[in-house]
């Protein structure tokens, strides 16, 4: 090896090193609030700027928001970001006609009308980045609380960082049940987790038995074998027992498999009344196609959301997606039973040109819950906010979610009033079919055979 090379290596490396410092010294903000570098429509900057300008008032309260703004699930992340900015706008400005927490007054009354500023960070679905971005938000941006982080695996590490630094972490979307079993002091979860959803699914099935008199007793859980699928099927099997259903088999398959022949063959062999799939979109698509190819139609396909409810699922599979049932956290047609949903949805539509859906509605709600707690705390002291969150009790009629309200379990900090709905696909769109009092369409049962489509 040449000595010269060492020398040049050295020079190069040192210059890299200095380069590293210099280049990021200046725009530290860049990673902080991607709005600056994001596409204009996202318009984080345009929203926040005026509030800062028109508010020489007492304080600006910084809240950190952690989402996947790039990469495979960026679309969801960006949408959530918009919903959070939207919620911040509702807090900071006065919307008297909305029956939402803090909507009527501008800012946080108990803190002298202080405005909240949301600082976004991108975690790219990487647990390591999630944790370090959380630390940066807390140590460098001095945020008083954090909302995030969509993916359960990232929430796991990010909430850990918040726990260590003693800052409240309000989790809007991660549904892995284990997250609230860690005995954390600073971690709060507004969304129901897969356990609650799984129970919901069996409540629904039981209700179908009792009110509609359908004859179902056996189920098969089929799930992709990463974190999400494994969690979901585990809880489903527990509840199946409790609600008197027999789980004939639990089929785990590798995520993004090229072929599902054997999986579906097993289903056919087991021949359950209800199939409970937990899948990401790619597998969901392949599963339905394989069902069709093999002409497989159980009494019902009842999915654990996600792959089956993701935006591009129904457009992709087209008519083949019809009559699939899925648990859902939110549906725009809730407006028919809950006018508030309609009002908020319209405002959101005209601002961002898209309807509210599961991810956005939950992000929106999480920020309101947090802001409401900060206001009640009347201070930005983390412990005070934590106490306020523990005392949170928001009634159902002040939420756009189909929940019975928001109240956190004193130990696990899971929202105990959260619940979901069951939707069914009709010509390329999902409609609420259960609980019956929120239903906008009459449920189609059993799942029609492929031959008579």
């Amino acid at each position: 090896m040449k000595r010269m090379n060492y020398l040049l290596a050295g020079i190069l490396i040192v210059s890299m090193l200095l380069g590293a410092c210099v280049t990021t010294e200046t725009p530290t903000a860049a990673p902080t609030n991607p709005p600056a570098t994001q596409a204009p429509p996202a318009g984080g900057a345009t929203d926040v700027a005026p509030t800062e300008a028109t508010a020489p008032e007492p304080v600006i309260i910084k809240i950190g928001a952690l989402y996947p703004l790039t990469g495979a699930v960026a679309a969801t992340g960006i949408a959530s970001k918009e919903a959070i900015e939207f919620a911040a706008d509702i807090v900071n400005n006065s919307y008297p006609d909305l029956n939402l927490p803090l909507a009527s007054e501008a800012g946080l009354p108990n803190l002298g009308g202080a405005k909240i500023e949301v600082i976004f960070a991108d975690h790219q679905m990487d647990p390591e980045i999630g944790a370090s971005e959380t630390e940066r938000l807390i140590t460098e941006e001095q945020v008083v609380a954090i909302v995030g982080a969509y993916a359960s695996s990232v929430t796991a590490t990010a909430s850990q960082a918040a726990e260590r630094l003693g800052i409240p972490f309000v989790n809007a979307q991660s549904t892995s049940p284990g997250l609230t079993e860690r005995g954390f002091q600073w971690y709060f979860r507004t969304t129901p987790h897969d356990g609650i959803f799984s129970e919901l699914m069996f409540k629904f099935l039981t209700d179908m038995k009792e009110t509609k008199g359908v004859d179902i007793s056996t189920v098969v859980t089929i799930h992709e074998n990463t974190l999400f699928g494994t969690d979901s099927s585990t809880t489903q099997q527990n509840f199946a027992g409790q609600y008197g259903f027999t789980v004939l088999e639990d089929i785990a398959y590798p995520h993004e498999t090229a072929d599902m022949t054997s999986e579906v063959a097993k289903l056919k062999a087991d021949n359950p009344d209800v199939v409970l799939p937990t899948s990401y979109i790619s597998d969901a698509i392949l599963m339905i196609r394989t069902f069709k190819d093999q002409g497989y139609a159980p009494q019902a396909i009842l999915a654990q959301g996600v792959g089956f409810t993701e935006g591009s699922f129904l457009p992709t599979v087209g008519k083949d997606g019809d009559y699939i049932l899925s648990r859902e956290v939110f549906a725009a047609d809730l407006a028919e039973a809950k006018p508030l949903v309609g009002q908020v949805n319209e405002l959101f539509m005209e601002k961002y040109g898209r309807e509210l859906e599961g991810a956005t509605a939950r992000s929106f709600t999480a920020l309101l819950v947090l802001a409401e707690a900060i206001n009640r705390a009347g201070s930005t002291d983390p412990e005070a906010i934590r106490q306020a969150l523990l005392a949170t009790d928001i009634p159902a009629d002040q939420l756009i979610m189909p929940w019975d309200g928001v109240r956190f379990d004193p130990v696990t900090h899971q929202n105990v009033l959260g619940t979901g709905i069951i939707v069914q696909a009709f010509d390329g769109a999902y409609h609420t079919v259960w609980p019956f009092d929120l239903a906008t369409r009459e449920i189609v049962w059993p799942y029609p055979a492929w031959s008579d489509r």
Binding site: R3, L12, C21, S132, A156, A161, T226, L227
Partner: protein, 326 residues
């Protein structure tokens, strides 16, 4: 030999300067995010350096190093979670377990040549990942979140500042680079390079090539495993798709190849370029999931491969014509 002596001083100078710069860095630059960036650079430089021992010096291209990283991480984590053993012991254990596994993997793989070897390493890595996904006791697909312990050197957990992690990773890297330097200058190092150059000739000179390939694999796996343990303590979360992912295997190869394969400082240079590059392209170019950052990233890789396949350390050498790198 004489040439060596006359070049010794500038090299020493640079080494001192470079080390000093790295030690001083976090004291000068106070940004946690940059500390983290440097920690990642050190960690991945370590991975590259470890890979380089097997892939660079001995010429056995492995695309399965994620296994050793992951097994290292899991070993220390399981020891901590199940038996409450401090990660410092876990670090040694992680390295050892990785080494043992490497011998089990190496034995069959070294009967294969060229691309058969590469594919075999990929396949075995995939296999191990799937096994961990389905291994409930080790957390299965959900993985393991490490318990939050009071911040201390014994617990190998620090939250008020990243400095301890910074200096631990830096000294780990320094140790590995130093060890590699000694190895390369030793009998084993000469044998590694001889095997890479021409295995028949090597055998004719009395070298037991399988034995020395296994040795290279063992050293490489040990360092990689140690890196995995550090990662587990740094992120406090291990799961099949963060510590066993294929991209770790590729990264371990890309870094030395970028910097200069089979050169002591290649991986260090590679990491100092690749990691910040991907971070900055992400921060400045990534808009709304357009993936333009990774487009640039991929493009840069192709360009380097096309214009200087021997790695960036070969550039100065190309300028001095004669192409005498490596």
């Amino acid at each position: 030999m004489t040439r060596r002596r006359q070049y010794l001083t500038p090299r020493r100078m640079f080494l001192v300067l470079f080390t000093a710069a790295l030690i001083a860095f976090p004291l000068v630059v106070k940004q946690g995010s940059l500390h983290r960036l440097m920690i990642l650079v050190f960690l991945y430089a370590l991975l590259g350096e470890a890979w380089n021992i097997l892939g660079g010096f001995t010429g056995q291209v492995s695309l399965g190093h994620a296994v050793y990283f992951g097994v290292g991480a899991y070993t220390s984590t399981l020891l901590l979670v199940k038996l409450g053993i401090t990660p410092w012991v876990g670090m040694l254990a992680g390295g050892l377990v990785a080494t043992i596994l490497s011998q089990i993997i190496g034995y069959p793989c070294f009967r294969l040549r060229g691309h058969y070897f590469v594919i075999a390493t990929i396949v075995l890595a995939e296999l191990v990942q799937i096994l961990f996904i389905n291994w409930k006791w080790a957390g299965g697909a959900i993985g393991i979140s490490l318990p939050l312990l009071p911040e201390s050197w014994l617990n190998f957990e620090f939250n008020s500042s990243k400095l301890p992690y910074y200096y631990i990773s830096l000294s780990l890297l320094a140790t590995v680079v130093g060890a590699t330097y000694l190895i390369v200058k030793s009998k084993a190092g000469f044998y590694f390079r001889a095997i890479k150059e021409d295995s028949d000739a090597a055998r004719s000179l009395g070298i037991n090539i399988t034995g020395y390939k296994m040795l290279a694999m063992a050293i490489s796996a040990f360092f990689t495993g140690v890196g995995g343990v550090f990662y587990a303590q740094f992120v406090l979360y291990v799961s099949p798709d963060n510590v066993l992912q294929f991209s770790l295997s590729t990264l371990a190869m890309l870094i030395p190849v970028l910097g200069g394969i089979g050169l002591l400082w290649g991986p260090v240079l590679g990491a100092f370029i690749l990691i910040p590059m991907s971070e900055f392209t992400r921060i400045y170019l990534s808009g709304a999931g357009s993936a333009i950052d990774l487009v640039v990233y991929g493009l840069l890789i192709v360009l380097v491969a096309v214009f200087e396949p021997r790695g960036l350390l070969a550039l100065p050498d190309r300028l001095r014509r004669g192409g005498r790198a490596r």
